[in-house]
Symmetry: C2
Subunit: 337 residues, 2 copies
């Protein structure tokens, strides 16, 4: 059973993944992304994954058979285990609980060699809708406090399978950076009675500004944030105040989000020669729903520089690319309509 443990000084919870326990000799060399010789995510191999929990089949067909365009399955090697109770307990000054949670994989399309950015907009919309479906379902489990949605694209960004996919992890704790963001946004709201992300959107898209804007649509903006940790770090935010990702259900809004995500990823791909990247959806915790001080958004982090342990160990990032320069490069990229 994996375990969740809390650092007694800074309060950060980590997963100690005993099921995946590795001896020293198992670390070198780092595994490469598995190639296309065998892929459990390809159509025809549906029996090689745990049974699906959601799928899009425009032409119908039984579960766990080919014919799907988007398919969600539990992770075969989950970081957390779905069964059991939390069983919170102490050990002197330390806190721990059972590593209970859900770990799912959204297989973004049937074609092994097609990446998210290259899918048609309507297909990306279905992928984004699959995230939403799963979040709504996982929120029903009273043990969970957060559903983390993230994508590792490329081996250097941590992907272990090549076939395009996104991961969802439902956890009984709120991940540290999300907790900090919630607290920071609440403090700002207490001071200003405004959402800090609404203020960011307003300032960035003001007529006399726009230096950090990558692109805008009717309902979303893509910007390089003012104080990015990484070169070409890019955020997509809804213009309308909305705390929770899963409440984005308006059909036009969903299509608009698919559009700006595709367009932004394509710009990054062209500017940076198809870089490895991660994205994480930042959204409100399970029970908090419609917070007036929080604003969901998506953060894309291309993996261009080596993040030294020093940066992770100190939280102090050195970014060699001013966001104004990055935004200009990305604006100037020509993308398909």
């Amino acid at each position: 059973m994996p375990e969740l443990r809390k650092d007694p000084v800074v309060g950060r919870w980590v997963i100690i993944s005993t099921e995946r326990s590795r001896r020293p000799t198992n670390f070198t060399p780092a595994p490469e992304t598995r190639g296309s010789d065998f892929c459990p995510f390809c159509p025809g191999n549906e029996d090689k994954t745990p049974p699906e929990v959601h799928a899009v089949r425009a032409n119908g067909g039984p579960p766990n058979s080919p014919g799907w365009s988007v398919r969600v399955v539990p992770n075969k090697f989950p970081a957390l285990q779905i069964e059991g109770s939390l069983d919170r307990r102490g050990e002197g000054l330390y806190d721990r609980m059972n590593g209970v949670g859900a770990h799912e994989v959204v297989i973004e399309g049937p074609r092994h060699d097609q990446n998210l950015a290259d899918l048609p907009i309507e297909h990306i919309r279905d992928v984004l809708a699959a995230y939403r479906e799963r979040v709504v379902d996982l929120h029903r489990d009273r043990r969970f406090r957060y559903v983390l949605i993230f994508k590792n694209h490329g081996a250097l960004a941590g992907a272990t399978l090549e076939h395009a996919h996104t991961q969802l992890i439902a956890t009984p704790i709120i991940p540290k950076i999300l907790q900090e963001e919630l607290e920071g946004a609440r403090r700002y709201f207490e001071l200003k009675e405004r959402c800090v992300f609404c203020d960011i959107v307003q300032q960035e898209t003001a007529e006399d500004n726009g230096r950090r804007v990558v692109m805008t649509t009717d309902r979303f903006v893509a910007i390089e944030p003012f104080a990015p940790r990484f070169p070409f770090e890019t955020w997509i935010l809804p213009r309308r105040h909305d705390a929770a990702y899963q409440t984005t259900t308006d059909p036009d809004e969903c299509l608009d989000l698919a559009h700006i995500l595709k367009d932004t990823l394509q710009r990054l791909n062209r500017a940076l020669d198809r870089p490895p990247y991660n994205f994480v959806i930042h959204t409100s915790p399970v029970s908090d729903g419609d917070l007036e001080y929080y604003h969901w958004h998506l953060e894309i982090m291309p993996k261009l520089t080596r993040v030294a342990g020093f940066e992770i160990g100190s939280g102090f990032y050195i970014n060699p690319t001013p966001p104004e320069d990055a935004a200009q490069y990305l604006r100037e990229i020509a993308v398909e309509a």
Copy 2:
């Protein structure tokens, strides 16, 4: 002039290093560590670095000439600039200031191919004393609030030069993770009237425990922390309560620290086949001196797994090696006396 910018939500300062500005095409492929064909840190090349600010020359000799065993120089390509005032200013809801700070390099020994762990204990003591000398000197500059001491060993851990060295960055801000640690330790002290790190040392070294202890000396302990982010993450803490690294001046204590650092690094080297690693010294801020709630320590992070952007982007770490297992492996390693 580099710039310090603050994220308006979570309050994290980042360096936007305009001097090192990189265009998109400069990112791929990642540069390898430069080899030994030319090394500015080797004896005889003293004129290839900025003039030294500290050196150990047992047999005397003029500054910036060979004959040194430890040498400290300003970084030729500093992340922050030593001249100028902070000039704090706003831009709408954002905060920024000039990237003023010191960035120095401690060249740990004259031999190009000798690593810190392989130096004699007395030599390591001199390296550790050089950190202390520089911290004391940099604390005199009233613009600085923190001096960060860190080592990147190996290209995968972010080292760009092969010759063994440590870096010091003096900053006008307190790096985020240090700030969090200071706040967490203060909260614990308010509750318990004890230092949390003293409690950790006591609990880990209790007679009926010891499962996470790597080794102990008279004055220090090396442990795998209870909730480590990374496999084989290892902390060295003084047994005696002491907030600031630079106040470790007792000769026996300094030699003891050199001993436990060498021994711990050798154990990691043997267990993990000389892994790339980082270490960061966590110590109290410039003006705070002798805090009763904080306790300096050194955190070593071997670079064994790929840290996905997701982990950086969420603060949620999955560690495949329980610290009890890691401590056992490291205890069982035979090292030279």
